[in-house]
Amino acid sequence: MKHLRTICLVLCLAILGYGCADHSSHAIAVYMLLDTSGTYKAELERAHAIINYLLGTLKPGDSLVVSRIDSGSFSEKDIICKMTFDGRPSVTNQQKRAFREEVDNFVATVQGSPYTDITGGIVQAVDFLNETGAGQKRILVFSDLEEDLPAGAVRDFPLEMDGCQVVALNVTKLRSDNVDPREYFKRVETWQQRVVSGGGGWRVINDLDNLDGLLAP
């Protein structure tokens, strides 16, 4: 009887401990897509600054992936660097240094791609972010949002983006936008519609000097 009581007490404490523990993840997972098409390659230095900002902001336990948008972006091969930071701050700092080096190498050696498969990159990003199980999922699209698909690529399907927040960064105006600005607005609106209808959130940040709200929920 005495043992039974002890076992009951231990079980109750275990249940209590399990109940108190927070099983919802507080981690943030960020998937950054870099447009490396010919027209946008020159903007990569800015993307570099954003990645540095992310490295300085993300905390232990968070995840960061940097991937390129090229002719066929729905592929793991396009991932430049991915890392889930360790829980220990000292290890996290070492990981961040390594991450930065890899990104530096990529920016120095990147080749421009003939096509721009943004949809493929986003689908890949959603897939990856869902696998991380992070509490907050962010997709940063560093692109002019002008999709240019190779022949035969099928990308006109609805996106499944539940819980993903998409932030379009540095959406530059193309030369044709200057002729007819409505094209720019239409481009942005089309992407917003695709993302929102897929259950995701949408934001545009063009002022890269003010990135404080980049990871805001």
């Binding site: 108190c20 523990a21 927070d22 507080h26 981690a27 540095n52 900002y53 490295l55 300085g56 905390k59 232990p60 336990g61 968070d62 930071f85 829980g87 220990r88 701050p89 000292s90 996290t92 700092n93 961040k96 240094r97 930065r100």
Partner: protein
């Protein structure tokens, strides 16, 4: 719907018609309506008054209990103070009176030596020889011209002079000896004076202690008697203690927050920075737990040293066990202080690493972090000292706990009194609202009432405004309208409280004003 009411196809006319109908209907329903309104208002009033009364009873009970607790606590404190004073007196008596026999011996010895020296110094110098007078007589002889006589006299003169010198030498020696003896007495006198002065001081200290004990005894007597003066003094003292201890606790909380910030970051190195308990990081919770454990150990240490008396179990332990507990708690505190110091060192390293990384990420030239080790050492020292500083939280905490009982009790009593007052006020408002509604009712049907008055040939309307006092049975009986009613007015009789209710109201108001 409104179209259905417009029976004359004329809005104003229809409205006047329906108003008249309504007036007549209200006139016929006047008495039951009056009773209903008054009953409702009285039910509300009495309900509120009953609630107020029960609140007042609760307040009185609470005040009485507060008083008991306050006096008991005050008596306990006074007993402890008296006990402490007696201990001090005991210590003084043990120390001084125990030394009294040796002091007495010392004094007797010194007095004996003084006496001896005095006696020695009182010895007279040798007197001049007795034949001096004979010499004087010879000197007066007139035979100086006679040679043999002159020669004899000369011899006598010489020997006399020699004798005189010898005598004077002896005298001077004797006087010098006396002076030397008197000189030797001086330190004894001084020592005697010092010993007596010391004794006097000790006696004065005892007298002062006795005055303090007398005062404490008087206070204790007053507390035991439960006088209002003692109660006032104790309440005031409790309030002062409450605010002072709250201030000190706030300072201690500030120290704990600093301590927390010192160890929260390095704790993430130990337990991981990505796990959470609820909405809080596990590392933060762990840091908080360490600080709370330190505070708890500090409490136990203070209890074991009998500085505080929050846990009777510890206080009742035998001295040996308490001594062990002191060492155990102190050891744990020491270990925790060491851990904190290490964590503070680790924090400094992590912060420096983070700073370097940020500089690299921002493409900023490394500024060459300060080479000085002072901040690191400062953090480590702070990490080591803060746990011990937090130990002393036990003292203001105990005072706060004891004082808050009195303050909380007084606050709750005040709230209860105010609630009772407000409920009584609302009850009276409800009653007068009922009377007001009755008057408004009569005002609306003034036309039928006027007609009734005319038909009856009376100067007053049939249904006078029912004032509060007319609700009492004897007054109701005087009213012509209600006189016709059966004894059904008993509802009002039952609902209305007797005269003491008003007296109670007045007493309540005066109490509120006084408080």
């Amino acid at each position: 719907m409104f179209q259905a009411l417009d029976i004359f196809s004329n809005g104003a006319l229809s409205m006047a018609f329906w108003l008249a109908v309504l007036m007549v209907m209200l006139y016929f329903a006047r008495r039951p309506a009056h009773k209903a309104i008054l009953s409702a208002s009285l039910v509300i009033r009495n309900g509120l008054r009953l609630t107020a009364r029960s609140l007042l009873l609760a307040e009185r009970s609470l005040v009485s209990r507060n008083r008991e607790v306050l006096l008991s606590s005050g008596a306990d404190t006074a007993e402890k103070e008296l006990e402490r004073e007696f201990h001090r007196v005991d210590a003084v008596v043990r120390r001084d009176v125990a030394a009294f026999p040796s002091l007495q011996r010392k004094l007797a010895d010194q007095i004996g030596r003084l006496d001896e020296d005095y006696r020695e110094s009182s010895e007279l110098p040798p007197p001049p020889p007795g034949w001096v007078h004979a010499v004087e007589a010879v000197a007066k002889l007139s035979g100086k011209s006679d040679a043999p006589v002159a020669s004899i006299l000369e011899e006598i003169h010489k020997s006399t002079n020699e004798q005189y010198r010898n005598t004077m030498d002896d005298y001077r020696k004797a006087v010098a000896k006396r002076h030397a003896l008197l000189d030797r007495m001086a330190p004894y006198w001084r020592s005697l004076a010092t010993a007596l002065e010391d004794m006097g001081k000790r006696i004065t200290s005892l007298q002062e202690r006795s005055i303090i004990i007398d005062r404490d005894m008087d206070r204790y007597e007053e507390i035991r008697k439960g006088t209002s003066k003692a109660e006032r003094v104790l309440t005031s003292s409790a309030l002062t203690q409450f605010f002072i201890s709250a201030l000190v606790l706030a300072i201690a909380i500030g120290g704990a927050v600093i301590n927390f910030n010192l160890i929260a970051l390095p704790m993430s190195e130990m337990v991981g920075g990505n796990s959470y308990i609820g909405d809080f990081k596990t590392s933060d919770v762990a840091a908080l737990v360490i600080i709370l454990v330190e505070v708890a150990m500090g409490l136990y240490l203070m209890e074991s040293l009998r500085i505080t008396r929050l846990f009777p179990v510890i206080g009742q332990m035998d001295d040996k066990m308490r001594g062990r507990m002191v060492w155990v708690t102190f050891s744990i505190l020491l270990i925790l202080a060491g851990i904190e110091s290490s964590l503070a060192f680790m924090r400094d390293r992590i912060a420096a690493d983070m700073q370097a990384l940020r500089q690299v990420l921002a493409n900023v030239e490394a500024t060459g972090a300060a080479k000085s080790k002072i901040p690191t050492i400062g953090q480590m020292v702070m990490g080591f000292i803060l746990p011990f500083a937090l130990t002393f939280v036990a003292i203001p905490l105990e005072t706060f706990v004891h004082a808050s009982r009195t303050v909380l009790g007084a606050t709750v009593a005040l709230l209860l009194r105010w609630s009772a007052f407000m409920l009584r006020l609302l009850g009276n408002v409800a009653q007068f609202m009922g009377e007001f509604l009755v008057n408004v009712y009569d005002l609306f049907i003034f036309l039928p009432l006027w007609a009734e008055t005319k038909l009856r040939g009376e100067s007053e309307p049939d249904a006078p405004v029912q004032q509060r006092r007319t609700l009492r049975p004897e007054k109701v009986a005087q009213s012509p309208a209600t006189a016709e009613e059966p004894t059904g007015t008993g509802l009002n009789d039952r609902l209305v409280e007797p005269e003491f209710a008003e007296q109670e109201d007045e007493a309540m108001v005066s109490r509120e004003v006084l408080s």
